[in-house]
């Protein structure tokens, strides 16, 4: 991999991000009565979109918002403009990653299929709440305003077609609730909350959460590692893997995800326990096995929609061996238009021959070919055997290349270390399917007890 390319400047990137930042700053104090600095921020967003199909729409919305008179459609237009700008950032970063990995791109995804639309009422309620948020600004949030999301989320949660909206709003509003009142916040996660706000707003539009038309996958699935994402009341585990089609077409990278809502007290190993029964692939990952797929549904973005009935355990397959043999030639999936955002970048890579460096308490970096790549050890799930210490002592790292806050980062999925002259692989997702590791067994027991208590108490309380 050409890691040296990751540190080089990218044309137009700073300009696009400056416009995004200008708009994001305007959301900090809210758009109820915009001050001159805020109207400048709105104008910067509109100017950056000049000459694009969104130009007129965003310019009008920016004018209305600058006058403190933005309606729902104007907020939606601003969110769309911001999303388009970050989409262009995503594309530039993806092109750079492709140069660095030298891997081929898969085909462009098809257009989304028409589907049955979810109930509109709850989506309009979500939209109204998000517009109130934009008017109040992050500095203006209080418990009453943030609490307005609770009935929306409760109405969305039972509806499978609204899972994406529900999960996002639930995590976002919990974060806002923990940050109330906004007036006394020491610092504001400016880009993050603008990201979540604009994404949530766009997901209230009809068809926004539709997935592109997919096909089916038949062949061999070789897991590379597991990425875990969680907020207080949701968890998702995403397995990244190389898929070798049985029809002899070129191998490509795919993902398989399983997610679940959860009470906030279910954490650590409890997350694996929730997810494990729904996806046999997690057990295969722990056992170091491939899986044979038979007509498994797959979206045009390369997401397998997992069905245990369409998979069976295959031969042993070591992820580092897979990475060394198959990763370089595997095609990267193409991201659907609305999903283009730098936060979506999670590109499997294999890094070897680096020097792990850490100054004082600073971040861990891998120095390779004159470039330093920051290592995001914080993303490694606590319920697993991979530790920051093992990563710092490693000689090879299988990870996800990401980009955040202006730079590329490496999220380790697994490392190879040398123990008594023998190479040992340690995987972040090793406990996904279960474990005999002493610490792991203890964590599993604690998690089982926690859920048992919740269910038992729920039973007693509901009967009385």
């Amino acid at each position: 991999m050409r890691t040296d390319l990751l540190g080089d400047p990218i044309d137009g990137l700073d300009e696009a991000l400056a416009a995004v930042d200008a708009f994001d700053d305007a959301l900090v104090t809210g758009l109820l009565r915009p001050q001159p600095a805020q109207t400048d921020g709105l104008a910067a967003l509109a100017a950056a979109l000049g000459g694009t199909p969104l130009a007129a729409l965003v310019a009008e919305a920016a004018d209305k918002a600058a006058a403190g008179a933005a309606g729902e459609d104007h907020f939606v237009a601003l969110a769309a403009g911001r999303t388009a700008l970050l989409g262009s950032v995503h594309d530039a970063l993806t092109a750079r990653v492709r140069e660095a990995t030298g891997r081929p791109a898969a085909e462009e995804p098809a257009q989304p299929v028409d589907g049955e639309e979810p109930v509109a009422n709850v989506l309009s309620a979500a939209r109204a709440w998000l517009c109130d948020l934009a008017r109040a600004g992050w500095r203006g949030i209080d418990h009453e305003l943030v609490g307005g999301a609770a009935p929306v989320v409760s109405a969305m949660l039972p509806e499978p077609r609204l899972r994406r909206q529900a999960t996002l709003l639930d995590g976002f509003s919990a974060e806002l609730a923990a940050s109330c009142p906004g007036a006394t916040l020491e610092r504001v996660p400016v880009r993050r909350w603008a990201d979540l706000w604009s994404r949530a707003l766009l997901l209230t539009l009809p068809g926004a959460a539709r997935t592109p038309a997919g096909s089916t996958a038949t062949g061999r699935l070789l897991p590379l590692g597991v990425d875990v994402q969680e907020h207080a009341t949701a968890v998702q585990a995403q397995v990244h893997a190389v898929f070798e089609p049985a029809d002899g077409t070129p191998p490509r990278l795919v993902r398989a995800a399983v997610s679940a809502p959860k009470p906030d007290t279910v954490v650590g190993a409890g997350l694996w326990q929730l997810l494990r029964p729904r996806m046999s692939l997690l057990a295969a990952v722990s056992e170091g096995r491939a899986m044979e797929l038979d007509a498994m549904p797959v979206t045009a973005e390369g997401d397998l929609v997992w069905d245990d009935a369409r998979a069976r355990a295959g031969e042993p397959a070591e992820p580092f061996a897979t990475a060394r043999v198959a990763l370089a030639a595997a095609g990267d999936p193409v991201t659907a238009p609305l999903d283009r955002h730098p936060a979506r970048l999670a590109v499997p890579v294999l890094l070897e021959g680096y020097a792990a460096e850490r100054e004082d308490d600073g971040p861990l970096t891998f120095a390779v070919a004159g470039h330093r790549l920051a290592v995001d050890t914080d993303r490694v799930p606590a319920a697993g055997p991979l530790t920051p210490e093992a990563i710092a002592a490693s000689g090879a790292c299988l990870g996800l290349l990401r980009w955040d806050a202006g730079e590329f980062l490496l999220q380790p999925l697994a490392v190879e270390t040398t123990v008594r002259k023998k190479t040992v692989a340690v995987h972040a997702g090793a406990w996904a399917g279960g474990t005999t590791d002493k610490a792991g067994v203890r964590a599993e027991k604690a998690a089982t007890d926690a859920v048992a208590v919740l269910r038992e108490r729920a039973g007693k309380l509901l009967r009385s």
């Binding site: 279910v266 979506r344 971040p363």
Partner: protein, 185 residues
């Protein structure tokens, strides 16, 4: 929590770590995950509706639970059984259920977040649960009416409803914004 700067702040690490500019990070960690704790004594605790509230198991009767709460700011407290009988211990001051609630909230959310939510002045030191309970009790808070029990109960049902939802395998791209963190509350 991210409001404080200082060496004790577990989230301060991001200022110096792999995420150099917290304000310009899409993946900035804002709320630390709940720390694991034993749930038998206090199966449910939450900071919501302007209260620290939860459900506390009875020490003597395994079939009984108490719904306990303290309001932010005023510390107005309430405690009653799930059958809406007032708690005998919560006449005039905090009962043992409320004390247990605060202790477990500290475990789950971290001292700073609880103290801050309750608007308890702890002068930026790391408060302990006993000290916080004593400080709040010293203000002679009013006894709240047990009408708080109904909303706590409905919040609990909402909480438990998460356990009833089935896992699903359709991708949730939005979860990319919610990376885990090894730093607990």
């Amino acid at each position: 929590m991210f409001r404080r700067s200082g060496v004790n702040n577990p989230f301060d690490v991001h200022g110096r770590s792999a995420l150099p500019v917290w304000e310009r990070s899409s993946a900035a960690r804002v709320v630390p995950p709940a720390r694991p704790r034993k749930l038998a004594k206090v199966p449910f605790v939450e900071l919501a509706d302007g209260r620290l509230q939860g459900v506390v198991s009875s020490g003597s009767d395994t079939g009984r639970v108490y719904v306990s709460s303290i309001a932010a700011g005023t510390y107005a407290f309430a405690c009653s059984t799930n059958n809406n009988r007032p708690c005998g211990g919560a006449r005039g001051s905090f009962c043992n259920h409320i004390r247990a609630l605060v202790t477990e909230a500290f475990l789950q959310y971290g001292a700073q977040r609880v103290a801050r939510y309750l608007k308890a002045d702890t002068s930026d030191t790391e408060p302990d649960a006993h000290a916080l309970v004593a400080a709040m009790a010293a203000t002679r808070p009013a006894q709240g009416d047990t009408s708080a029990a109904a909303p706590v109960f409905s919040r609990l049902l909402r909480h438990l409803a998460y356990l009833e939802r089935e896992p699903a395998t359709g991708p949730l791209p939005e979860m990319q914004w919610f990376p885990p963190t090894r730093a607990a509350a």
